[in-house]
Subunit: 233 residues, 2 copies
DNA sequence: CGAACAATTGATCCTCATCAAACCTTGTGG
DNA sequence: CCACAAGGTTTGATGAGGATCAATTGTTCG
């Protein structure tokens, strides 16, 4: 499999890159395949590479000392991850990256990006925009976890995941398909698989979603938005 | 009151700035005084200025639609805040900034920083380091909120706040003084004033802290670390 | 001294985690 | 192609951890 450098322009940070720059990045990359459930890197490892997901879906997660996990971010095609290491040369990954499906990704040395940042202002801005986005998302999710009830949090989480990795499904409807297990949703919303299962079953009874093994199909996004805002019932 | 430009070097982003740059920033700044409890800006306002706190302490908070608040960050002297607006010209503040004590701060137009970033690589790196720090802190706090019990979370919060805004107190001891109400601690740890009060009273009985009105004195930081790691009892 | 506000403490209740057991789906090997 | 294993999902029963409420006490400041 060969990567066309111009494909890299689908990565937000490279939107305004020159053709030469794109080629340079591709030439300095390694293509890595990762099986479903396997890992790109672990929390605590030296952040030697950053990645650009070419195909598949992945998640960033963090574990506490007892081994409980939370999902910090879900990664779709043409998104960068593991790039915080480009800022400090001695950085370690603050999270673990795991494939949700069979994945292929470009791995590029962090120092390469670090050096490129010195001479290419557009990269700085792109990376900062990405970072401000993460900061805002994490702040929102933190507030939600601190102040909202589970059902709302699950609704907010499912809607967010739909926007990030959802596949439009079934005709011109606004139905969105998510390849996520109850476990994944629980880790992303800060609850347990039992509660996620109960809530999804309830939503299914009300015709909002359709569920299956490692699958959630959103049939009525607007209904979920109402739940997330506490406007239902 | 007059600001000596070289004082700005205490701001992490300006650590490696030239004297000329520092003077330029000071010349383009306005000195704002904000009374205790008053606000620098509100969540949702256009992010026209960013701030450098010169004296006092402040906090960044976010409210949900019902008005419940969470504390996102606590700000000490010579820290920047409200700077996310420098990345996107049309940004709005994602959080509200409120003074915990009487404060003075330099207000500088976001576009000024935005323009300066174009020509001064050291600013880009400084700002990115700051941002990666926030991202990592928010990720950690999110995980803690999702997986840890209240007492541990309060211990982690108090220790973090001590590192960020604590004043060393009482001789050469490792005692640290925090000018925070139960409300502040509750908002920072995602719980209620009642629970914070109960936990602090318990710690006081055990000789770990001393409490007062809008005041927490940490007498035994190591004991709190043990609690935060679940090693007590 | 009194008003305003912060903190404490007890009683109660509710949401959600936990546990256990059964059920369903998918893939594999005989 | 069926049977079975493995692992995901559902559902009920139970209980605990904290939130909530209410009343009191303590502190600060005009």
């Amino acid at each position: 499999m060969k990567i066309d450098p111009s494909d890299l322009r689908r990565v937000s940070v490279f939107k305004e890159a020159t053709d030469d720059d794109l080629s340079l990045f591709v030439e300095n990359s390694i293509l890595r395949m990762v099986e479903e459930g396997e890992f790109f890197f672990f929390q605590g490892d030296p952040a030697k590479y950053f990645y650009i997901l070419v195909s598949g879906k992945a998640k960033l997660l963090q574990s506490n000392p007892a081994g409980q996990q939370v999902n910090l971010r879900t990664i779709n095609e043409w998104q960068m991850f593991g790039a915080l290491g480009a800022v400090r040369p001695d950085a370690i990954y603050p999270a673990t990256a795991q494939a949700l499906e069979p994945c292929t990704a470009l791995a590029i040395e962090s120092v390469f990006l670090h050096d490129a940042l010195q001479t290419r202002p557009y990269l700085n801005f792109g990376l900062m925009q990405l970072m401000t986005g993460y900061i805002q998302e994490m702040q929102e999710r933190y507030r939600e976890l601190a102040t909202e009830r589970v059902e709302r949090r699950i609704a907010l989480t499912v809607l967010r995941l739909a926007a990030q990795i959802g596949k439009r499904s079934g005709g011109e409807e606004t139905m969105v398909e998510l390849p996520l297990s109850r476990q994944d949703v629980a880790e992303a919303s800060g609850t347990t698989i039992y509660t996620v299962s109960r809530v999804l079953s309830d939503w299914e009874r009300r015709g909002l979603v359709e569920t299956g093994r490692e699958r959630v199909l959103i049939k009525n996004p607007h209904g979920l938005v109402q739940i997330s805002e506490g406007l239902d019932q």
